[in-house]
């Protein structure tokens, strides 16, 4: 029991992290990395602001207890070693002794306890630390998380951008709930990560420079990181091509990805998005009208040709997704797909009591929340016409308009994109949990309710044996793929682009939401 959680007593963080260096090449010190953020930053404090845009600067400014290697194995970071008790109810973090914040103050277990409190109160993902009842601090370098139940999801939640340790002496000057609007979330930000903030100009750039007293000796390699804010994907593409940008992540337009792949000096890869786990799906409201019948949902899946979506719409840049868990996750269990079969589809619809009358069987609506997925929605309309389902596309003026429709379940079908965010407990359960129905956008907006699914998720949430856990999620994915509250079509084709000069770009499970203390410039 608890094999996987027994902390690997690594001698130092240094040896462990060198093991993750994939290239034997000697890293070079110094240089300024010019990289990019695809939208404006709302808040640099990743303890209170989630999301992929804050994730990149956030993980440079703030350190977390753990980091992960490419094989989903936890590695020491702020925690030198860690230990999970036999019953899974206490998690002990032994912090590195030499960690200091950018203002010179030492990082202690008090800061860990404070950060957990702040994250529990302000972070959008409640499930990450919900079972954490208290944090004991027997000494300055030991923090013990006391849990109300075993919580294996905690391991991933202690890495990447999800558990940023913020200094109590700075953010603890007011009420805990006010940290999310703290004045130092955007200026004079102080963390303990490899880089410190030089300048943040809204709409223009975030500039970070090397923190010389970083707790891992000899790191980071770079002197400076300039994160330019360029919101137009076409302009970013030109900037990669002419060398103005060294690196960028989260490029998702198939046309641009394929164009950049042809440029000699650039490497374009979909590695590094496993933990963030973005998946696209066709959501179906299971509580009203014809879609309440699982046969109708299946008929729709048989009529929609995923191949067309992959080849024509995604132009080969996305992978198949069949179960709600991202294919790169260790918990992914590929499910049998719904090969396009119009006869079967029609038969299912007949069986469900929707024969063709005056040329149509039924009328449904389909929504979408942002213009980028309009082609998918139009395709669904065209595909369902072949089985005599009349689909009306409903546009939304902007995101909140669509979010309102979704959050209140005022829709039949919708295109949707949802992220896994590490462990399934954090980003997957929310979509299928029957206690989370219609609680805002990206909750269980399909109104899906299945007692066995609830039970499986509850068991998996506390199961500490990884093999058993995988089996539970296996059954879970099977039911989801069979009952189709959502029809999983593809992963979001996020790609990282970097040029020849960049050594060891962040391509681990958390992609750019990890400290890039090992990234360097070759010249």
């Amino acid at each position: 029991m608890n094999k996987f959680v027994k902390g690997l007593a690594m001698a130092t963080a240094l040896t462990a992290s060198f093991a993750t260096l994939t290239k034997a090449e000697e890293p070079k010190m110094g240089g300024t990395l010019i990289t990019v953020l695809g939208s404006n930053v709302r808040n640099l404090n990743s303890a209170v602001q989630s999301g992929i845009v804050t994730g990149f600067p956030g993980a440079q400014l703030f350190a977390s207890p753990l980091r992960y290697d490419e094989n989903w194995e936890p590695q020491p970071y702020l925690a030198e070693t860690w230990e999970v008790s036999e019953d899974g109810l206490t998690v002990t973090l032994n912090l590195v002794k030499n960690a200091t914040f950018h203002d010179g103050m030492p990082l202690t277990s008090e800061d860990v306890a404070f950060s957990v409190e702040v994250i529990k109160t302000n972070h959008p993902f409640k499930s990450m630390f919900a079972p954490v009842e208290s944090v004991s601090t027997p000494d300055a370098h030991t923090a013990i998380l006391n849990l109300s139940r075993p919580h294996p999801a905690l391991m991933l939640a202690m890495s990447g951008q999800l558990m940023s340790i913020i200094p109590k002496h700075i953010y603890g000057d007011g009420e805990i709930k006010d940290v999310k609007t703290h004045a130092r979330n955007n200026e004079n930000v102080v963390g303990s990560g490899p880089f410190k903030l030089t300048e943040f100009k809204n709409g223009e750039h975030v500039i970070l420079e090397r923190f010389d007293d970083f707790f891992i000796e000899g790191r980071p390699y770079l002197d400076k990181i300039v994160m330019r804010i360029i919101t137009d994907p076409a302009a970013r593409a030109i900037a990669y091509e002419n060398g103005e940008l060294h690196m960028g992540a989260f490029e998702s337009l198939p046309r641009i990805i394929n164009r950049l792949k042809k440029v000699d000096s650039l490497t374009v890869t979909s590695d590094g998005y496993g933990a963030i786990g973005p998946v696209d799906w066709l959501a179906m409201n299971t509580t009203k009208g014809p879609l309440a019948d699982v046969r109708v949902r299946k008929a729709i899946a048989y009529a929609v040709d995923k191949n067309f979506i992959h080849k024509a719409l995604m132009q080969g840049t996305a992978s198949d997704s069949t179960s709600g868990i991202h294919p790169d996750s260790p918990f992914y269990a590929a499910q049998e797909g719904y090969e396009v079969d119009l006869e079967k589809s029609a038969a299912l619809l007949d069986e469900a009591g929707f024969p063709v009358k005056d040329g149509t069987r039924m009328s449904l609506t389909i929504d979408f929340g942002w213009p980028g997925v309009k082609p998918q929605v139009e395709y669904v309309k065209a595909a369902l016409k072949k089985v005599n389902i009349d689909v009306q596309v409903r546009a939304s003026a902007d995101f909140p308009t669509w979010a309102k429709k979704m959050g209140t379940m005022d829709f039949d079908m919708s295109w949707d994109t949802v992220f896994n965010w590490g462990d399934p407990v954090i980003g997957v359960h929310r979509t299928y949990d029957s206690t989370n129905i219609a609680k805002g956008v990206w909750s269980n907006t399909q109104g899906y309710s299945n007692a066995r699914v609830d039970e499986l998720m509850a068991m998996a949430a506390v199961e500490t044996d990884p093999a058993k856990r995988k089996a539970l999620y296996g059954e879970f994915q099977q039911i989801i793929a069979d009952e189709l509250p959502v029809y999983h079509t593809n992963t979001v084709p996020y790609h990282t682009v970097y040029n020849d000069k960049v050594g060891n770009p962040p391509l681990g499970i958390w992609g750019s939401s990890t400290p890039i203390d090992m990234t360097y410039l070759k010249e």
Partner: protein, 325 residues
């Protein structure tokens, strides 16, 4: 005195208009389904209901509409534009950070377009059927009808990618170091493509208008008299005719100040110019009411100032404007 009085009347009207604009926009923002809590949740990859409720409570979004409107207008009357919900920054600070970039872009484009537009207009008016005239007509037609995002991307591909002459995006290169002139040259280099893109629309308008008015003026009696007097062609055109044909052009230029935000949005988006246009666009998308209203407030101010400048310029070229009628 009459001037001062008319100025005061204008200011009073402007204030009334401004309040009406703020109330109307506040109400319209409120009518749309969903709110800023949704976009905050979007920026975070989703959020639990509890957090959403807390955000709404923090920003007073759970209060009745009139209470929200009252507290906002109360703040505005005390010259406090409030806090941006989305960026947690005072709106005034957010706008002042962005305003210089937009002013630089729009004024440079305006002034260059005005200058070049008038010259082109005059040249083509003097020989309405010459090659130069046809060239100006084609240029104007193209500049006016081509969408700026298309012109912008085309210029980027041409002059940033194929011929790497100008930078792709932004207003400055933060990696270069040096004195004032180094930075001046750097900003100027970043300014070229956005100014050409934005200026192409203005240029089309001004050159066409200058051409038309110039042709009209050149056919008038006093120009014939001036020619008959034996003045040189050059003197007639630039000293007598031009001054009189300028006033419509300047009036139009004044009207174009309202395009400070609207015209610049797309250009700023294409070139990632850190100005008000992109901020306005993003705030509308994010439903960040205080920021949107703050930008409206500031752009109204810019329009008012622009109109005043136009007035002064008109008086300068045409003394009749200032006098009693």
């Amino acid at each position: 005195m009459a001037t001062l009085q008319s100025l005061l009347t204008r200011i009073v009207y402007a204030v009334i208009l401004l309040v009406a604009v703020l109330v109307l926009n506040f109400s319209m923002m409120h009518l749309a389904p969903g709110d800023v809590a949704d976009t905050i949740s979007q920026s975070m990859g989703g959020a639990d209901q509890e957090i959403l409720d807390q955000i709404r409570a923090d920003y007073g979004l759970d209060q009745p509409f009139l209470v929200q409107l009252g507290s906002y207008m109360g703040k505005v009357l005390r010259f406090d534009l409030g806090y941006s919900f989305f960026y947690n920054t005072p709106v005034t600070q957010l706008i002042l950070q962005r305003l210089p970039a937009t002013l630089l872009l729009v004024f440079t484009a305006q002034i260059l377009a005005l200058f070049i537009g008038v010259i082109l207009g005059v040249i083509s008016a003097r020989k309405p059927n010459g090659i130069a005239s046809h060239f100006v007509t084609i240029l104007a037609l193209f500049g006016y009808s081509a969408p700026v995002f298309w012109t912008g991307i085309l210029l980027l591909i041409g002059f940033s990618l194929n011929i790497q002459l100008f930078p792709v995006a932004g207003m400055r290169d933060v990696t270069i170091e040096g004195g004032f002139w180094v930075h001046f040259v750097d900003i100027a280099r970043h300014l070229v493509l956005p100014v050409v893109t934005l200026g192409s629309i203005f240029l089309a308008l001004y050159s066409r208008l200058a051409r038309a008015t110039m042709m009209e003026v050149l056919g008038s009696d006093y120009v014939r008299t001036a020619k008959a007097k034996g003045l040189s062609e050059r003197e007639v055109v630039y000293k007598h005719a031009l001054k009189n044909s300028l006033s419509p052009v300047i009036t139009l230029a004044g009207l174009q100040f309202s395009a400070v935000i609207s015209g610049a949005v797309l250009v700023e988006a294409v070139f990632s110019w850190p100005g008000l246009g992109t901020l306005a666009f993003q705030s509308i998308i994010a439903r960040d009411t205080p920021t949107i209203l703050g930008i409206l407030f500031f752009s109204a101010l810019v329009v008012i100032i622009g109109n005043l400048l136009t007035d002064i310029a008109l008086r300068f070229v045409d003394p009749r404007v200032g006098g009693k009628r």
